[in-house]
Amino acid sequence: MSKTEKKLVIFSDLDVEKALKNALQKSRPDIIGEVRDSGLKGRGGAGFPTAVKWNLAAAAQGERKFVICNADEGEPGTFKDRVLLTDYADQLIAGMVLAAYAIGSKDGIIYLRAEYTYLRKDLEATIEKMRGKKMLGKRILGKDGFEFDVHIHMGSGAYICGEETALIESLEGHRGEPRNRPPFPVTVGYLGCPTSVNNVETFITALHIVEKGAKWFKTFGTEKSTGSKLFSVSGDCEKPGVYELPMGITIKKLLETVGGEDAKAVQVGGASGTCVPRKDFDRAIAYEDVSTGGSIIVFGQQRDMLQVAINFMEFFCEESCGQCTPCRLGTETLLEGLDLLDEGKCSLKHLRELCSLGETMQLSSKCGLGQSAPNAFLSIVENFKSEIFDTRCSCR
């Protein structure tokens, strides 16, 4: 499925059963220690250190603890989890077992987005197969006193449920509205129990790390963004698809790999990410520079960037949960502004007010959705202001 020639981390060979068996020989602190040494950060986009999350969940007091796989991949332009769920489901489940062992959990849930219902059957077959091989259930791979099982919970079509506290609300049968934090899910999560919510790619990467070592993992990537990352590449390029590339790769190099050298701009991180214009293609894709959960959308020279901004803002207007005012009203107001721009009826004074509103939303929204909703708007207005004004005129 992958178009990458070199196998780095995730697409490197792994004997799943052997890796899990080796991991279960280690002590719990050793596993978390290995993940900590690797510098692995959450691959869903937020970039929270995985070992810190696991350590907090391990230390938290609770009769039950939960390991939840966030398979609610909804960020526009992201489809790497779809590939992983299709071709690497056994590694995902083994990664969940590993996390469960590390934090002391018996219960796992895969929160699968409704749009991926067609993946459910094969996923369930894999779960059943792994039960048969004693990689799930009681006494996993002969390890006394360790039991863990997973079940699939289907989403019902809401982007916001990719946010971990909204996901938990949804699991509990509520509207997917994010919770106030703290308390964080690692102490008060699903059903009030300590819960670790991790992305599909994070579980798989952690499994490789524990088997092959933090040192090996750190041979890829940069000092602050270790390892490799899966990129979902779409838009105006010759070879769209899923690529595994080292962290810290420049946008220019990535575009050469996918056949998109002519691009005018690249959206890194999906609708909630940043639009990077051609002059900045030397920037690196990494947590310390341009961060992404994996979405790379390439825009060719012919693309109208204002239409791109409108498409993204319509997305946020629909997907805002409506709970907090900056996000609910801010997204609507920014969309109205974009429509004014499109009609050639937006004064620069109003545009400046809209940009200021965007910054307010970044600061005052309750969750990541509202905080990042203005990103595309702000970066497109900043970088393509002259294109927008030159091509629009209300008197035409």
């Binding site: 526009p76 332009g77 779809r82 219902t117 067609y118 049968g173 979902s232």
Partner: protein
């Protein structure tokens, strides 16, 4: 909905809710089940579901109205969801949208008079490298072109029994 049908569905709802010990975490699975067989969640069903979980019906409605795959209005037997997000948009989703409207004779957001098809836009389907993409119920279709639209629609229209069984829960 006939009274007997409501009773039948109510029994199913209670059976499912019991599997979850009537705990609220079973609410969405039950709603998904009802949506699946009745193609909507009627006010009567919301009452019955609320009763099973011992919560207020408004709580149920709040959940139903939040999620795009749950609906109060009755959907067609086949729900066509065309991805409207940027990659599919750039790959030619507008022409596909136009042809879907032509083939079905309805606009987006509408359901055909025979109750067979509902046409909707949806956000990213995760098929950005193979757009334009659309879901028909749970089936994914990729690289859809305007020419392919008629064949795809026909393949559902001609499914065995599709015309006979539609409206069974009316």
């Amino acid at each position: 909905m006939l009274a007997s049908e409501r009773e039948q569905l109510k029994a199913e709802i209670n059976k499912m809710a019991k599997k979850f010990d009537y705990h609220r975490s079973g609410l969405i699975p039950v709603l998904q089940y009802v949506q699946n067989i009745s193609r909507h969640i009627s006010p009567e069903s919301m009452q019955d579901i609320a009763e099973a979980f011992k919560i207020h019906p408004v709580e149920v409605q709040g959940v139903v109205s939040f999620y795009s795959f749950l609906s109060i209005e009755r959907k067609g037997k086949f729900v066509v969801r065309l991805c409207r997000t940027i990659s599919c948009d750039m790959a030619g989703k507008e022409a596909v949208a136009n042809q879907l409207e032509n083939e079905l004779g309805i606009e987006f957001g509408e359901t055909t008079d025979d109750g067979m098809f509902t046409l909707e836009f949806t956000n990213c389907l995760g098929m950005c490298d193979m757009g334009p993409a659309m879901l028909v119920n749970d089936d994914i279709h990729t690289r859809v072109t305007p020419e392919k639209v008629a064949d795809i629609i026909d393949s559902y229209r001609n499914r065995f029994g599709a015309h006979v069984t539609h409206g069974e829960h009316a």
